[in-house]
Structure formats: structure tokens, C-alpha cells
Amino acid sequence: MSPFLLTLRLAAVTTAWLLVLGTPLAWWLSRTRTRWKAPLEAVVALPLVLPPTVLGFYLLLALAPQGPVGRTWAALGGEPLVFSFAGLVVGSVLYSLPFVVQPLQASFETIGRAPLEAAATLGAGPLDRFWSVALPLARRGALTAAVLGFAHTVGEFGVVLMLGGNIPGRTRVVSIAIYNRVEALDYAAAHRLSLLLVGLSFATLLVVYGTGRGLRWRASR
């Protein structure tokens, strides 16, 4: 698979996982009153401030066959996670987590209690309230979350550099391919891939700004 298609596939798979995992987490964070809320929010936001190399370094050690995660994974019969597409998905989910959880949480929070309490008095259970009231009201936040998660994963470099092993078709994503081409003085190929990325990024943002009021996290009403 070409680096470009591989990048799109990684971003798509990562975004799907992030929406599945991030939505309940964001919902819970928006409702909870536990004193663990602040520490948990800080953990979710860590990838925003940490150098990706730090994340990549610890993932390399954790996912290695002798590492804590890698050993458990192998015991369950999984293929090695390091230097694999699956490993990149794990890394990308962590790396892009705040970009999905934060807009979702913000839009859940702006819904307020009133619509949910109204639904409850009409006899809707917790799950029904979430599916029929909260999620539709937070749809703009969900769109923002999906676009940001996707775009941030497309732009990923440091984590993949540490964890991927630069394998054509499996872990050589477009950002790594560009880096390789520049280092090998093949500027023509670097230009081709880079311009493709500029075009893709612009088109993505154009869709977002064109269809809605843009990437405004806290204005989902």
C-alpha cells in the first residue's frame, strides 16, 4: 500500500476507535463529580503537551514482546504489536485522544441538564437519553472530534518514527516517507507527497468550515 493510502487507512481506523472509546469517556467526564475528574482530564490532555517521542519511546518499551503490554498481548495469541499497523493504531489512538475527547466533552457539557431531565420525566432511560437526546444535540461536537482526530493522525510523525520501523506498506506513513525522501535528497518525491498532504488538509478543513460554523468546540447549540 502506498504511504498516502496507508496514512488514510491509519487515520480512518484510528478515528473509528477514538469515536467508539472517546464518546463514553467524554460523556462520563461531562457528567461525573468524582474528585478524580481533574487528574483524569489531565491524563487525557497529556498528548497535547508531551513530545510525541516520549509517547513513542514508552510505547516501544511497553509493546515490545518482553514489555508489559506486549507480553500480555502475545499470551493472548496476538501478533507482535511493535512495527505493525495495529501498533500504530494503538499509538495513534493515544496520541489523538484529546482531540476527540475534548470537543465531545465540551459539547456534552453545553447541553446542560434541562433536555435530559425533560427526557427523563417523559420516561426515557439513561441509554435512551444518551442516544436520542445527548448524542444528536452534540452532533457538531462529534463532527469536530472526528475531523480533528483524523487530521491529527494524518499529521503524526514522532510516534510512528519511534514505533513503526519504517516498513513499506505497513508502517511507512506519508510523513515518514517525506522525511526519508528529504534525507535521501530526493526532493521531487518529497514535493509530490507534501503537496498531496497540503491539498488533503486544505480540503478537509474546507469541508468543515463550509458545512458548519467551523471548529468551534464550545458553540454546539
Partner: protein, 260 residues
């Protein structure tokens, strides 16, 4: 009144900025005044030996040594792009030659300072590594350095081709961006084994190794070259002299290099 208050805040801000800026600029000026620093771009494979040669050079001459490590090809690219290096310690002869041809290195300053050896290495002891290991292919990952930029990676590919196992093993190859990252991949256990430089594992007591016969790949002749910006730099010239001296040679030998 509002304007007044804002001006006041701005005044304080300016003073704070100057308070930070002036010492920083002073520090930069003193940095520039300290002339005798040699900035050496060194192939990742040479870094372990350089970690010993460097302090010895500093003690002997009073100059300071700064080492920037990486794959030879990447360092060469950086020189072409104008990186402020004084000396390049390459892990091959091709890249110094390119720089000389482009006028970025001082003509006639190229010198072969060592010849390196390629090793197939695993951090686990008691393994009988050899060509048979590669033919059997009973491993998930074989780490090599990126052959496009790292001489030890190119040598590893040459060995795999010579043994006619390259196509079979290609799906298992993991590329480090330099032989330094390649060694880290193997040492951390992420890849079971890999082709690294003998100089990297010279100090490793454990693990298993196969010293790859030199007939299997083009010789890893390592050349040093004086870069054009350091043409008349006394400290850079002193470093190249020191590298050719007996002390540095003894260190290189201890790291497994053979000397020309």
C-alpha cells in the same frame, strides 16, 4: 484612565521582556566569543568510540568537542543544506567524496580513519547466530539501518542479497533511521535481532553475535573530512590530527575497528 492602566501594564511587560532578553543576548555573545569549539557530525556507529575519544581530545588540547550523531547520509544532506558542522566522520567513503566534489569539503582533506565491521546481534545470550539463522528466518523482525542513508544498512542489504535471502526476509525487515536507532530496536527487545556495527556491541558482554565475514559486503571504509567552513579552523585541524594519533587509534581498535 483605561489607556493609562494599559500603558502601565505594557511598560511592565517591556521591562520583563528586556530583563529576560539582555542576559540571554549576553550569554549568546559569550558563546560566540568561545572560539575553540569543534562541531563534529559523526556517523551513529562512531558515537560510542567518540564518547571516549572526545574527552581525551578535550583534555589534551583544551578545545571543546560537540558531537552531532546520525546516519551518514542524513548528516551529508544537512551539510549540503548549510548545517554549521566543522568535521564529518562518515561511516563510508562515498558521502565525504560527494561533499568534496560539491566544494563543501576541503579538497584533499579526506582521510580513512577506520574500517568497521557488521555484526548480526541479539540481546539474548546462547544463540548460535549465522547465515543459517537468516536462511531459517525463524523470527518476526530483523532490524537494519535504512540502506538509503546509513552505510551499515546498505552493507546489511548487501549481505542479505549475497546470501539470497533478501526477498524472503523483506517483509520482516524493520528500518532504523540510523544504525543507532537500529541498535535501540534490538537492545530494547522490540526486534529479536538486527544488523548493527561491531563498535556498538564491543562493550556489550551479553547477547549473541555473528561477526559478518567481510567478503559478504563492500568494505565499510570510514572517512573523515574537513568541511569548508572550518578550512582554517585550528581546533578542527587539531581534532583531525588527534584522530590520527596513537591514543585515538588505540580507542578505535578497542571498539573493534581495524585501522588503515
Amino acid at each position: 484612565m483605561g489607556t493609562c492602566a494599559r500603558t502601565g501594564v505594557r511598560g511592565t511587560g517591556l521591562r520583563a521582556v528586556l530583563g529576560v532578553l539582555v542576559p540571554v543576548l549576553a550569554l549568546l555573545a559569550s558563546e560566540a566569543a568561545r572560539a575553540a569549539t569543534v562541531r563534529v557530525a559523526a556517523a551513529a556507529s562512531v558515537e560510542p568510540a567518540l564518547a571516549e575519544i572526545g574527552p581525551a581530545f578535550e583534555r589534551a588540547t583544551g578545545h571543546r568537542l560537540e558531537v552531532i550523531g546520525g546516519a551518514t547520509g542524513k548528516l551529508t544532506t544537512q551539510v549540503i543544506q548549510g548545517a554549521p558542522f566543522d568535521v564529518l566522520l562518515a561511516a563510508d567513503a562515498e558521502h565525504p567524496e560527494i561533499l568534496e566534489k560539491q566544494g563543501l569539503a576541503v579538497a584533499g582533506s579526506r582521510v580513512s580513519y577506520a574500517r568497521g565491521r557488521l555484526v548480526l546481534w541479539s540481546p539474548h545470550g546462547g544463540k548460535n547466530l549465522g547465515a543459517g539463522t537468516l536462511r531459517a528466518g525463524r523470527f518476526a523482525h530483523l532490524a537494519i539501518a535504512d540502506p538509503a542513508t546509513a552505510p551499515y544498512g546498505a552493507a546489511a542489504v548487501a549481505v542479505l542479497r549475497e546470501l539470497r535471502v533478501y526477498d524472503a526476509l523483506a517483509p520482516k525487515l524493520v528500518l532504523g533511521e540510523s544504525v543507532g536507532q537500529t541498535f535501540a530496536f534490538v537492545k530494547s527487545g522490540a526486534a529479536e535481532l538486527g544488523f548493527v556495527a561491531l563498535s556498538q556491541v564491543a562493550r556489550e558482554s551479553g547477547g549473541s553475535r555473528w561477526l559478518v565475514p567481510e567478503e559478504l559486503h563492500p568494505p565499510l571504509v570510514h572517512q573523515a573530512v574537513l568541511l569548508s567552513r572550518a578550512k582554517d579552523d585550528a581546533a578542527a585541524l587539531a581534532f583531525l590530527r588527534f584522530l590520527a594519533g596513537d591514543g585515538a587509534k588505540a580507542t578505535l581498535r578497542r571498539f573493534g575497528y581495524s585501522l588503515p
